[in-house]
């Protein structure tokens, strides 16, 4: 409560302490933000607010924030180098920025590398993605979050759900299985919204079984915690699928026939048998006993199993191939890999299959829909491994065997990919669609490339990370590999890293071993420009020009909740849609400037106005369901101004009475979700693959390019197959080899108290992290500790096989699998610019090698589980 006689104001805006973007009320008193509260009527948070959100006040008023532009005067770059920053004016800063960018434009515009944080997807769209496209460079990535989780988990969810991820239908789900994910426990996707939904579900009686090497917050709230060897989830999931298909015979035939490619016939060459006339995939009609296109109107039934002949070739159905392929995944075999007892795998598979209640239906708002109250849910924990793409496919396939994909009670697309339009205008509509082969294509997918169908690869690749010669990766780390120069030369890439434009990402800490990231990549840039609110390790190590950004409480952004893909916030299940903006609660200090304003000014200075407007059109089309109406088209004679851009987009989507002024007043607009949007799969004629035939073909194209340029072993091409498999991480071999000193498997987990590496500087969050036994420590099982001769509180080193090491204090817990080491979040800062964060917690990413050996050959995502040796620190 505020003191009497003070001038109070309430500003409705969107939180920016994680990508959950809850609608909040920033309460100001005499122009100081003094309170952050939830907006009671908003579906984005339901009026609640978390520790991070409330603590944003302390971020806003942190005296260590950047208050003016800084120019590096020490030409040397490095982790322990004093940048010798010098204060300069904005006029000087903009002149320098323009000069460097113009030089890059003149040399080769592709030399600009744009980098960003995953925390602010909306800001990223306008100040990085649109600028990147206007500038004309293909090089862009999202540090940390994108590389650690973006490839396998997101793209697989995209292939199967046209969505960024999956979340249980908390309202109806009775049994959720979590594989290394924190959904509903205060971190990650739809953090706060899912937290209430998950609590409601637990109270209602939803059972939760969590497979995880660590008894995380979600595992401790679950009915059952099943400790599993880190990264072996695929073996268990494939064993469950084997049991469901081959032993228990529990599967949803109707769903498999109509919503998957299970009946598609596959020839002896591993590819679909296709109709000679239409080139469409064939299925076997057991009534007419003919092979016939899958969508032929004369099709009477489609065989799910068996051998059938087409064009004289001995074909099998896709499901038959899958069913035979996974027979090797017996519970006993999976148990040997994962350390999960075989009888547990059997029991969980049976419970999962039975709980799906195949054949049952439910009436929702006049629609009779399949009722499948069981869901298999994964995320980063399952994703951050060498086998991440096939691991995620294995986990998500469970849903499609029991037919619960986007059905009531099942695994729902997170941020549904279908929106039939804002009722007031009919605008903002998008829907999934099938491609010619009948498979699911996302309509609204503005980030990276569509998960399916595969894009044609660039020959030769144009991007420095070679992403454009592949078809699954969102981003890759190839531009940071030690042999990057050799690869760029072989692939005839004519330019090199030139200028980097960074928005709030800490690439020194968020990717992998900082020495390697620095030496192999960041030091190659002529000039690095970075916008941030603090001078983090990144700015101190490599930035040449540091520009003081505004906090999320000091700036605008046009939509924090759309697009539904890539913005990790909308609730799942029925309820309300919401479009919310971000707006300043207070004016920033005079020399702090919102990055987007600077970028728009720079676009003007560089003569990129028209190209920026073009990029903006494309963004609006891909993110917000269609181009602007003709009457709202940009007047390219008008300079780029963000408030004008926002107002135009808002009026275009919601009507002339709901422009920026409306949103400034109300903060958000909500409208009810429709059954056809939430449970869209029941209403859509789209299929997902149980046999990923297209990967064979796409992989061949990528491989041909690699071979053409003399890099035949760029990745292990055997991963580019059509069927999921378990593949071990390299760390397992190290861990289990005879007399290995590196006998522990280290992994990190997501703390609900922190967002990536940015929140340790917050003194409130830091203080509770210091009081919490887990957040800043190394978690170790007491039996392992005894074997290692360490006790709780000891300071130890963790060292990988390359000699890279990190230090931390041990906390003993029975809630971790023996021979594993758990570490929370991305802590262990050392920057002078973040004194509260400095020296707190453990810097896990020091242990991550950024190389081919630790890269998933299919998704090119990072393998971030590490074999380590643990030993006491001298004098601890």
């Amino acid at each position: 409560m505020s003191p009497p006689n003070s001038k109070e104001k309430v500003v409705k805006t969107s939180c920016g302490m994680c990508y959950g973007t809850c609608t909040i009320r920033a309460r100001t008193c005499d122009d100081i933000v003094v309170g952050i509260e939830g907006e009671p009527d908003s579906p984005q948070g339901y009026g609640n607010v978390c520790a991070k959100g409330i603590s944003s006040i302390m971020q806003l008023y942190d005296p260590n924030r950047l208050d003016y532009p800084l120019l590096r005067t020490n030409p040397e770059k490095g982790l322990d180098v004093d940048p010798e920053f010098k204060r300069i004016s904005w006029a000087e800063a903009l002149d320098i920025m323009e000069e460097k960018l113009r030089d890059c434009l003149n040399r080769d515009r592709r030399g600009l590398y744009c980098c960003s944080t995953p925390t602010f997807p909306s800001e990223r769209a306008y100040n990085i993605i649109c600028f990147q496209r206007a500038f004309g460079t293909p090089n862009y990535y999202v540090a940390g979050g994108g590389l650690h989780c973006g490839n396998g988990p997101h793209m697989v969810a995209g292939m199967y759900h046209a969505s960024w991820s999956v979340i249980p239908d908390y309202k109806y789900c009775n049994l959720a299985i979590y594989w290394g994910c924190s959904k509903g426990h205060g971190a990650g996707h739809a953090a706060l919204v899912a937290m209430k939904q998950a609590a409601d579900a637990r109270e209602r009686g939803m059972r939760l079984i969590v497979f995880d090497p660590f008894q995380s917050a979600q595992a401790s709230a679950a009915e059952e915690w099943v400790p599993i060897k880190v990264g072996t989830d695929a073996a268990v999931a494939l064993s469950m699928t084997n049991l469901l298909l081959n032993e228990y015979k529990i599967f949803d035939s109707q769903y498999l026939k109509t919503k998957t490619n299970a009946p598609y016939l596959v020839g002896t060459d591993g590819l679909y048998a296709r109709d000679e006339k239409t080139d469409l995939p064939l299925v076997w009609d057991p009534i007419e006993k003919i092979a016939i296109p899958f969508n032929d109107k004369n099709l009477k039934d489609a065989a799910l199993f068996g051998d059938h002949e087409a064009h004289g070739d001995k074909c099998k159905t896709s499901l038959e191939i899958l069913r035979n392929h996974i027979k090797k995944y017996t519970p006993e075999y999976a148990s040997k890999i994962s350390d999960v007892p075989a009888n547990t795998i059997r029991r969980v598979a049976k419970e999962f299959g039975e709980e799906a209640r195949i054949g049952s239906t439910i009436m929702i708002d006049g629609h009779e829909l399949p009722y499948r109250p069981a869901a298999s849910i994964y995320f980063r924990g399952a994703g951050g491994h060498y086998n991440q793409a096939w691991q995620c496919v294995s986990l998500i396939l469970l849903n499609h065997i029991i037919g619960c994909g986007d059905m009531p009670g099942g695994a729902l697309a997170f941020g549904p990919p279908v929106h039939l339009g804002y009722p007031g205008t009919g605008r903002l509509g998008f829907n999934v669609e099938p491609d010619r082969d009948g498979l699911l294509v996302a309509k609204s997918w503005p980030y990276a490339h569509l998960p399916y169908p595969p894009k044609d690869p660039h020959d030769p690749p144009e991007r420095l990370d070679l992403q454009d010669m592949f078809y699954v990766p969102t981003y890759t780390t190839i531009m940071m590999w030690e042999n990057n120069e050799e690869l760029w030369t072989k692939f005839k890439i004519p330019y090199r890293p030139d200028v980097m434009l960074n928005f709030a990402s800490n690439q020194i800490m968020s990717i992998g071993n900082p020495h390697e990231v620095l030496d192999h990549f960041l030091k190659k840039f002529r000039f690095i420009i970075s916008f941030n609110i603090f001078a983090s390790e990144f700015e101190e190590a490599v930035a040449d020009l540091v520009l003081p950004d505004t906090s999320f409480l000091e700036r605008y952004t046009v939509s924090t909740t759309f697009p539904t893909v890539g913005v990790s916030c909308h609730s799942t299940g029925l309820g309300d849609w919401i479009w919310a903006i971000r707006q300043p609660a207070v004016e920033p200090k005079p020399e702090r400037r919102a990055m987007v304003d600077v970028i728009l000014e720079m676009s003007e200075r560089l003569g990129l106005r028209e190209r920026y407007y073009e990029a903006l059109n494309e963004w609006i089309n891909r993110a917000y369901g269609g181009y602007l109406k003709p009457e709202n088209k940009w007047n390219t004679k008008e300079p780029l101004k963000f408030e004008k851009i926002m107002d135009t987009i808002l009026r275009d989507k919601f009507g002339d009475d709901k422009g920026l002024e409306f949103f400034k007043q109300y903060g958000y607009l909500k409208w009810p979700k429709r059954v056809e949007e939430v449970y869209w799969r029941a209403f859509s004629d789209v299929r997902v693959p149980v046999y990923l035939e297209w990967i064979i073909k796409a992989g061949r194209k990528s491989r041909a390019i690699a071979e053409k340029y003399g890099v035949p072993d760029l990745v292990d091409w055997s991963f580019h197959s059509a069927l999921p498999d378990y593949h071990p991480c390299p760390s397992y071999t190290t861990q289990t080899s005879e007399n290995s000193e590196h006998d522990l498997l280290a992994f990190y987990w997501r703390s609900a108290l922190h967002t990536y590496s940015m929140t340790m500087e917050n003194p409130w969050l830091n203080e509770i992290s210091e009081n919490d036994p887990y957040t800043y420590t190394i978690q170790l099982n007491p039996d392992t500790a005894k074997r290692k001769g360490v006790k709780s509180g000891d300071v130890v080193w963790l060292e990988n096989t390359k000699g890279h090491k990190t230090q931390g204090r041990v906390y003993l817990t029975e809630g971790i699998k023996p021979d594993h080491v758990g570490i929370a979040a991305c802590a262990g800062h050392w920057a002078k610019g973040q004194p509260i964060a400095k020296g707190k917690g453990v810097f896990f990413n020091e242990l991550i090698e950024v190389d081919k050996e630790h890269t998933c050959p299919l998704s090119l995502g990072q393998d971030i589980c590490v074999a380590v040796k643990l030993y006491k620190s001298e004098g601890s």
Binding site: D30, G35, Y46, D62
Partner: protein, 209 residues
């Protein structure tokens, strides 16, 4: 008469610390002072382990041990059951800190800035925080949760209840058998911490399983 109490549902709580920070922001408690806390417990042996977050605060006992030991009468109990400290009467003897079985009380010698650890505010917000803290608590006194009595006067719920992302907290009148709080205690067999001490606490917990 109203008897205020709080019910914390351990089945809904995930130990996210939302309550802790909501309290801190509402009352501007200085560093190391937590009127609301989350404790962690762990029992069992791998692989059968039970970890449980336990949010705690002043239990606003009907028979408060802290009140009995207060030599100046600074610790009082309102008619609605809320136990408060009158900072004008408190001499900072800290008997109550020792007497409280729940570790709910904090002696604060002087206000400190979160960033510098010093008495000087480091920002406009810190100036506001200091002013507010000193106006409501002063220096050299014992402080504790007051169930956000200043918010109750405005018909608002306590800050920790309002913020809780899992909606695990229900505030209400324990003397009213029809209140949501009373109903939950009855239906879910609510229990209290250290009941055996006879302080008759007014914070109830609903079991997690």
């Amino acid at each position: 008469m109203v008897r205020y109490g709080l019910v914390i549902d351990l089945k809904r709580c995930t130990g996210c610390f939302g309550c802790v920070i909501a309290c801190k922001a509402e009352h501007q408690t200085p560093p190391k002072v937590f009127w609301a806390k989350v404790l962690r417990s762990e029992s069992g042996k791998y692989p059968v382990v039970n970890r449980q977050p336990l949010p705690v605060l002043c239990m606003h006992c009907k028979e408060p041990a802290c009140k009995d030991v207060c030599p100046t009468g600074a610790t009082k109990q309102r008619e609605d059951g809320i136990v408060v400290v009158d900072n004008k009467l408190c001499v900072g003897c800290r008997y109550c800190v020792v007497a409280c079985p729940y570790g709910a009380r904090y002696f604060v010698e002087k206000w400190k800035d979160y960033f510098t650890g010093k008495d000087q505010p480091s920002s406009k917000y810190a100036e506001y925080a200091k002013k507010k803290w000193l106006a409501e608590n002063d220096r050299g006194v014992v402080t504790k949760c007051n169930f956000c009595s200043e918010r109750l006067e405005k018909d608002l719920k306590p800050a920790c209840v309002e913020a809780c992302p899992a909606e695990a907290r229900t505030f209400g009148d324990l003397d009213d058998p029809e209140s949501e709080a009373s109903r939950l205690i009855k239906k879910r067999r609510g229990f209290r911490l250290k009941e055996e001490l006879g302080t008759d606490p007014c914070v109830y917990y609903l079991p997690s399983r």
